[in-house]
Subunit: 133 residues, 2 copies
DNA sequence: ACAGCTATGTTATATTATAACATTCCGAAA
DNA sequence: TTTCGGAATGTTATAATATAACATAGCTGT
């Protein structure tokens, strides 16, 4: 892992929500990172290697939260609109059904995206406990 | 449906692939549409009403290809990187598994995205029939 | 006529991503 | 050791996507 990749990866591991490339850029200015391309290049490598996932729904990036999700299962992200956290899951059954749907249609899969947007359990209970008046 | 919405919707229905907001803007200049916001506003309404879907993976928009997909099933899009076409499907089994995964976790679902990127059957056979040397 | 609402239009700006080109670094081959 | 070549890095500029802020027009019910 190169130096810039390490900086970006560490930052994403420490973050509790997806960060945009420009969030990362701002956070790493003092590490000598000054231009968007430096961030995008590091992200491209990290994503390619499965250490980081791109979250399409929010144009953001998160460090992989699972061991070896680089297998052939798709990751499922639940994205809370309130706390902005992203939780990563895998589900063999969903993945195999998607795969067989693709196979049935002769579609050659390169990449799958499953993202669910909504409110996480924590945020629901938090709001129930302290409702706004 | 307002005039701008009609223009945008018709264009998307005629298109054979997802269009970006700026594709739409360029195509509708002669209809009097001059600014991105006019397009984005029409798209927001159309998406809200389920007539149009946003494709996160390509920052594009397509007219709904199914009758009444506005039920509670999620749409599954297969996106061909070669011909750029988007095919829309529903699958009750995949949807219900996603839903029960969310329920188990206490996650309150607002929106689901399932997008599969790859090569469609047509493009595979086309390339097989006429390979590049 | 008036108030309130929706749609529309316009300009400017924010956010996300890539192109094009120059430079540096480092290991392998000569 | 020198030199070659690839990988990484840095820099500037620009493309592509999306929204903010404000002004205007039209329509509806009172
Ligand atoms: Zn992962
Ligand atoms: Zn939350
Ligand atoms: Zn649909
Ligand atoms: Zn195709």
């Amino acid at each position: 892992m190169t130096q810039n990749e390490t900086f970006v990866y560490q930052l994403l591991c420490d973050a509790d929500r997806p960060l945009s490339a420009y969030n990362i850029l701002d956070a790493l200015r003092d590490k000598g990172i000054r231009a968007p391309l430096q961030v995008y290049r590091a992200l491209a490598k990290l994503v390619e290697r499965g250490a980081v996932h791109r979250i399409e729904s929010v144009n953001g990036f998160v460090a992989c939260q699972l061991h070896d999700c680089g297998g052939n299962e798709v990751s499922i992200f639940m994205l809370c609109t309130q706390c902005e956290r992203a939780h990563e899951f895998t589900n063999i059954s969903i993945d195999s059904r998607l795969q067989s749907l693709s196979n049935d249609l002769g579609f050659q899969v390169a990449h799958k995206v499953i993202e669910i947007t909504g409110r996480c359990a924590d945020c629901q209970t938090a709001q129930t406990a302290a409702p706004k008046h």
